[in-house]
């Protein structure tokens, strides 16, 4: 937030004046009020493996993270380029595989990847769009210096927090929105609905019927599923509501079965169709993949997009972007060592104390090692895991992430953050100005995941 000379950075100047005139006790009280709003509304998530705490609140910090319009425009260009490349990459690996033929990516990395779905080979989803909704995790290390941490092309979550955080801020501090020209995010559900409907399958005449598919109320992101369905004004369905009838996916309503044209699914590929994938899945719809391949339903995001979330694939993103867009990637990748390569593995083992090691299919901050903060013993245990399954890991240096202020009892204190902007892809790419800022609440910590004690803030992109 601050310049080197300790003055507030330009986008924070207006906010800072306001903050200096606030009574700290009042702000702390507002923090509590925000928590009550969240609890009352039931904006909760479930942490797996905690028996007694089935529903938790994500801590909300009421100091916004502010991004200048100028910095945002550059960032957005980079994201757009990356998202276009991701879709082209997916289309390629499920069709001609030119990137493999060109020798830019090893064949086995694609075809032996558990997120690669042979069922998608030769099939092109309606509109040619694979990842309808993308969340690109970004960190900022300095002025105009952004790194992409990971691509979430499968099912990025958290957008409900982006919306609720803004709502809460506007309720609590309306004056801030008079003083600062903050670009709106509230129209996201509207844009999402239109983006989804515009990609209805060719067979759909009339107004496309959209539905959100949830695994149910025990899923950690259930709140978000219900919230999005509600805000979009579409049905929230579970697998048990759906059935394939006459070559269409239909939902059981109080008047009989009615067809669905576009399914925004928040169920993983593996569970989508017990006839095609996991036979024991009770969350999916038997036969939906046949309907899909016959062009009678749009599934968003398309099955098989999860391969883009693979952290070994991530390490090839600079090549991927260049291969499909013909230009150098605007956004940097964090340098990544693939432990599957012998030299890299040795380097990682030798430098474990300075690196972050992640599972290639991991998410949510589980199963990772943060070298600098881990104990000797934790590192030794992890080294054994690494040696046993090197293919399963990648390693990255710890970046000197920029910090933003959070409100603590004694005033404000700096904490590390990342940023997940949300991107909608149809015949155009729309990037919502803002996104979810996740913040590591522990001083010095770099892990921002809510499952690991991270919090969130409202994210402002200013008009300028």
């Amino acid at each position: 937030m601050m310049n080197a000379d300790n003055s507030p950075r330009q986008p924070y100047t207006t906010y800072n004046e306001w903050y200096d005139n606030q009574d700290r006790a009042r702000l702390i009280a507002k923090s509590k009020e925000a928590e009550n709003i969240f609890r009352k509304t039931g904006i909760t998530f479930a942490v797996y493996g905690h028996a007694d705490s089935s529903e938790k609140l994500i801590p909300f910090d009421l100091i916004p993270r502010i991004i200048s319009g100028r910095e945002w425009r550059r960032l957005a260009q980079g994201i757009e380029q990356r998202v276009i490349a991701l879709n082209a990459f997916l289309d390629d690996i499920y069709h001609k595989q030119e990137i493999i033929k060109a020798g830019r990516i090893p064949r086995e990395l694609i075809e032996r990847n558990e997120a690669f779905l042979p069922q998608m080979i030769g099939f092109r989803p309606p509109g040619g769009v694979y990842t309808h909704i993308v969340g690109t995790d970004i960190v900022r290390t300095g002025e105009d210096q952004f790194y992409v941490l990971e691509d979430n092309a499968r099912t990025p979550s958290g957008v409900s927090y982006m919306l609720e955080n803004r709502e809460t801020m506007m309720q609590m501090f309306p004056e801030l929105f008079h003083q600062n020209r903050v670009r709106p995010v509230e129209n996201y559900p509207y844009l999402l609905r239109h983006s989804l409907a515009s990609l209805a399958p060719p067979g759909c005449t009339g107004k496309p019927r959209v539905a959100v598919l949830t695994p149910g109320i025990y899923n950690s992101a259930y709140y978000e599923h219900a919230f999005l369905a509600d805000m979009m004004g579409v049905e929230l369905v579970e697998g048990s509501d759906l059935r394939v009838i006459d070559g269409k996916v239909k939902m059981r309503t109080t008047r009989g079965y009615e067809a669905i044209d576009v399914l925004y699914r928040r169920v993983d590929d593996d569970y989508l169709d017990p006839l095609t994938f996991k036979p024991e899945s009770a969350l999916g719809i038997p036969g939906i993949m046949d309907v899909y391949r016959a062009g009678n339903i749009t599934i968003a995001n398309a099955p098989g997009t999860g391969i883009c979330d693979d952290k070994a694939i991530y390490s090839y993103m600079p090549e991927i972007v260049e291969f499909y867009t013909g230009r150098k990637a605007l956004l940097e990748n964090v340098p990544t060592w693939r432990c599957s390569e012998t030299d890299s593995l040795q380097y990682v083992l030798d430098n474990l104390a300075d690196l972050v090691v992640k599972e290639v299919h991991g998410s949510g901050g589980y199963g990772m090692l943060v070298g600098p903060t881990a104990s000797k013993r934790e590192r030794a245990t992890f080294a054994e895991k690494l040696k046993a399954r090197p293919n399963n890991y990648i390693a990255q240096p710890t970046l000197s992430l920029s910090t933003v202020p959070i409100l603590v009892n004694k005033g404000i204190a700096p904490r590390h953050v990342d940023l997940r902007p949300y991107v909608l892809v149809s015949d155009k790419v729309q990037i919502i100005p803002g996104g979810l800022t996740r913040v590591a609440l522990k001083a010095g910590s770099l892990v921002v995941n809510s499952s690991q004690g991270g919090g969130t803030k409202d994210t402002w992109v200013l008009e300028d």
Partner: protein, 312 residues
């Protein structure tokens, strides 16, 4: 609307209704044990029976004490009809159908749940009991208020109301089923104080001891009490009132969907029987049998609604 959503709404409101009923039974039981020092064990037995949870209770406790019975009715997780269980199940259903509820209604349910969880985290001390019961009534009242004040009068509203009234009819009928003998003319000795206490307890367990006084000029008479709970169309917990509402809510769905189901016929038949009989007819036919038939018809109606509207 999804069949599963209709099912969720229906059960959400059944459970909220049942939570209130369990609280009311505790209230009535408590009142009785305050009024009379002896024979309270019997009273609590009756209460447990009305709630249909006698068996589960007996598995846990050797004998009936008022402290155990109250705890069982308010907090026991193994008792699906305890206030806490009902609110948890009701809220879980509300979470499932959240997209069908207004924000106000959902928040009222959620806050009720958060409140109950804190309030009923441990055994309630006798001195705190009145306040706890009051809070339960207030919280469920707020749900009702938010629901009536904010929900569209559409299919969602009608399925919710049907759940409420099927449950309410069941609750009232069960109270009558357990206490029917004190209402029989042969047994009751007019004016005996035991009967008065019993009768008042029945009226209290349907929150009607005051309104009874207005309608029947404060004269306790068994046939009047039976009339009030079964046939009086103005008493909001009577069987006739519940069925009047059910028929009207089902009628809305039939008009809206252009389709009638077995449930419509069943409900209309029951309503006709409630309207066309006098309390003397009911007594002559046999009060106990009448109530038993009613409970079984009411269950069947629930099943027919679930089938007709594809709850599963």
């Amino acid at each position: 609307m999804l069949g599963r959503t209709a099912n969720g709404l229906y059960w959400m409101f059944r459970y909220i209704e049942r939570a209130e009923n369990s609280a009311r039974l505790v209230d009535a039981g408590l009142r009785m044990s305050l009024t009379r020092s002896e024979a309270t064990e019997d009273d609590w037995n009756g209460v447990l029976q009305s709630s249909g949870i006698r068996d589960i209770y007996d598995e846990r406790y050797e004998k009936t004490s008022s402290a155990d019975a109250i705890d069982f009715l308010l907090r026991e997780k193994a008792n699906p009809s305890s206030v806490l269980s009902c609110i948890e199940t009701g809220r879980s259903n509300a979470r499932m159908v959240r997209t069908a509820l207004t924000r106000e209604t959902w928040e009222a349910v959620n806050e009720c749940y958060l409140d109950m969880k804190a309030l009923l985290a441990r055994r309630v001390k006798p001195t705190e009991l009145p306040e706890v019961i009051d809070t339960i009534k207030r919280r469920t009242g707020l749900i009702r208020g938010a629901f009536h004040g904010t929900m569209l009068r559409n299919e969602i509203f009608n399925f919710s109301r049907i759940g409420t009234f099927i449950e309410r009819a069941d609750n009232t009928a069960r109270i009558l089923d357990v206490k029917y003998y004190v209402l029989l003319p042969a047994v009751s000795q007019v004016g005996s104080s035991i009967d008065n206490v019993q009768w008042e307890s029945i009226l209290r367990s349907v929150s009607a001891h005051r309104s009874y006084g207005w309608v029947y000029e404060a004269e306790y008479k068994s046939s009047n009490i039976a009339d009030f709970l079964i046939l009086n169309g103005r008493m909001p917990r009577s069987l006739a009132y519940c069925y009047d509402k059910i028929v009207s809510n089902l009628g809305y769905l039939a008009r809206e969907y252009g389709e009638r189901h077995n449930a419509h016929e069943t409900a209309e038949k029951t309503l006709a029987s409630l309207r066309n009989h006098s309390i003397k007819d009911v007594m002559d036919q046999g009060l106990h049998e009448y109530i038993e038939n009613f409970i079984s018809d009411n269950n069947r109606l629930g099943q027919e609604i679930s089938d007709g509207y594809r709850f599963y």
